[in-house]
């Protein structure tokens, strides 16, 4: 790779061990993917340190020990514990304490402890054409597709990019890869936000790591619909970017989305494809007993918190139902200010930040240190309104998992009986 003088100095170690280690990793990554040089990044969304995995918080602490400091605005991803409300949701104390060490490590690095999978709702976002890195694939998709930034689906090395301000030029940092591959004509109604998550979930299986271009959407998608669509695409596929002409900067037409070339493939999505995603989850029939309802995947926007507030106003969840609403610390603060948190608590909801059902200590597929004695997950039948959460709850918590629309999930919480998405 061609390195600038600054980058060579980082690699040589004259600017400290943290930048040396980071640059060494980034050069290896760049050479693996045939990158010619580095780009300068303007934002990084990084690993929080995951207490449910052996020696994982220590990865961040090790960086602090060698004097690491971020050099660009940096936010941290969702983690395994709500560090404020850990007692409320039955988190073992040693797991919570381990996570607080991770949060302290982020402060020492100079990163913001956003602890969310939707940093853009919390005020952390890139501009059009800004190079960035992200450890969360949902963030990668949103930033590429809605904000016009340039990001790959990264792993741990997102923190190396934060510590150097550099990332190898490959993948979605190059114009040649930011071009549509599949033309998707949507004939489904898409009547609620969950439908958009199902649209993404359905297509991710078909397009894999390619770039779908949407036509025929019923209206210009809202921010929450775009967020749900991207999260669905990143769940079943390796999608990093989708294109909605007129929404994805700077693309205004289908022709431009395909850079004047013909689509490699054309697809039609019908209502039956959306319905099939809902019905692929769960065994409990309509009216069957439910003991856990979750809203807020990806972490709720302020708009979504307002929507939940309207649906729950003056009502109360059924006895025997655990009701979680997950969001970021920043959005929760705004919702508190507007009285929404109080209203939702009066309806019996727990407002949880930093984590979510599939990310917290409920997951059976983790591998904590042996001295963290994890209780078994408390639920047997769970209802969610996100196809992403549904897949991971089913696979990681391994309870009966049902997918429905937001309004129907609220109705389920109020009655304790499963309300499928209204046809």
């Amino acid at each position: 790779m061609r390195l600038t003088r600054d980058e060579q100095e980082m690699l040589a170690g004259t600017r400290g061990e943290a930048q040396r280690r980071s640059m060494e990793g980034l050069v290896q990554l760049g050479e693996a993917f045939g990158a010619e040089d580095m780009v300068e990044i303007g934002y990084a969304h990084v690993h929080p340190g995951m207490a449910l995995y052996s020696q994982d918080v220590e990865l961040m602490e090790d960086l602090v020990k060698i004097g690491a400091k971020v050099v660009v605005p940096t936010s941290a991803n969702v983690m395994n514990v709500d560090t404020e409300n850990w007692k409320l949701i039955g988190t073992p104390e040693n797991l919570a304490r381990l996570h607080m060490r991770g949060v302290r490590a982020h402060s020492a690095l100079g990163a913001v402890s956003a602890m969310t999978c939707t940093p853009y709702w919390a005020g952390h976002w890139p501009s059009w054409n800004m190079h960035m890195t992200s450890i969360e694939s949902g963030v990668t998709v949103f930033c590429n597709s809605v904000l016009g930034a340039r990001s790959n689906r990264d792993g741990f090395f997102s923190v190396y990019a934060a510590l150097t301000g550099r990332y190898p030029r490959f993948g979605y940092h190059l114009d040649e890869n930011r071009v549509g591959t599949h033309l998707v004509r949507v004939e489904a109604d898409l009547a609620n936000i969950t439908d958009y998550s199902c649209l993404g979930y359905h297509l991710g299986k078909i397009v894999g790591t390619d770039v779908p271009v949407f036509s025929g959407l019923p209206h210009k998608p809202t921010l929450d619909e775009l967020d749900a669509l991207g999260a669905g695409l990143a769940t079943t596929g390796g999608v990093s970017m989708f294109i909605v002409p007129g929404t994805t900067p700077p693309i205004t037409s289908i022709d431009q989305a395909f850079a004047g070339r013909k689509p490699r493939e054309e697809l039609v999505v019908r209502q039956a494809d959306i319905d099939a995603v809902y019905s692929s989850f769960g065994n409990t029939p309509a009216g069957g007993a439910v003991d856990f309802v979750h809203l807020g995947c990806p972490h709720a926007s302020f708009q979504e918190m307002q929507d939940y507030g309207k649906l729950f106003a003056g009502k109360h969840k059924a006895e025997g139902v655990e009701l979680w609403i997950t969001t970021s610390r920043a959005v929760k603060a705004l919702a508190e200010q507007e009285g929404i948190v109080k209203l939702l608590r009066e309806a019996g909801a727990k407002i949880i930040t930093d984590t979510c059902p599939m990310s917290c200590h409920f997951a059976r597929t983790t591998s904590p240190d042996d001295d963290i004695k994890l209780p078994p997950p408390p639920m047997s039948t769970m209802v969610v309104d996100s196809a992403k959460q549904a897949k991971y709850v089913r696979d990681m918590i391994q309870c009966d998992t049902l997918l429905t629309g937001t309004k129907e999930a609220v109705a389920t919480a109020l009655t304790g009986r499963f309300v499928p998405r209204a046809p």
Binding site: A32, D154, F156, S367
Partner: protein, 135 residues
């Protein structure tokens, strides 16, 4: 013995018994980090153990969290000794392999699935973008 050229992705060299899969793998979910056992819905690999093998499969799929699971396999001493894929793996998988010191080669010049039997000793040597797979 034959030597097959491939593209080098992560430097290193290793030798181990081949484990050949026909399906793409997601390290988040398909492999149990505590045992190294394939638990995902992969008919050709289900219930096999990846520990110590040269793991050969078409491509990686799924979550950007894959790096952590590959790294965890290594931390639990259950990782494959080398990975060979048909197409370039996800950046997240490559980052996990660099952290764990697991060499990766891809785009081999011969079809390994027909050349290599499960359990056959395979050597993978990767340096400076070039790889040699000896079977």
């Amino acid at each position: 013995m034959s030597a097959i050229a491939a593209r080098g992705i992560v430097d290193g060299s290793a030798r181990g018994p081949a484990l050949v899969g026909a399906e793409p793998i997601s390290f988040l979910g398909d492999v149990d980090i505590r045992t190294g056992r394939v638990v995902g819905d992969l008919p050709s690999l289900r219930n096999t153990i990846v520990k110590g093998t040269v793991l050969i499969f078409p491509y990686t799929r799924g979550s950007a969290g894959a790096w952590r699971f590959l790294y965890q396999l290594y931390k639990h001493a259950n990782a494959p000794v080398a990975i060979v894929t048909q197409s370039v793996p996800d950046p997240s998988v490559v980052q996990g392999a660099i952290l764990a010191g697991i060499p990766i080669a891809c785009e081999p010049e011969a079809d390994l699935a027909t050349l290599v039997q499960n359990g056959a000793a395979v050597t993978v040597e990767v340096k400076d973008g070039k790889a040699t797979i000896t079977v």
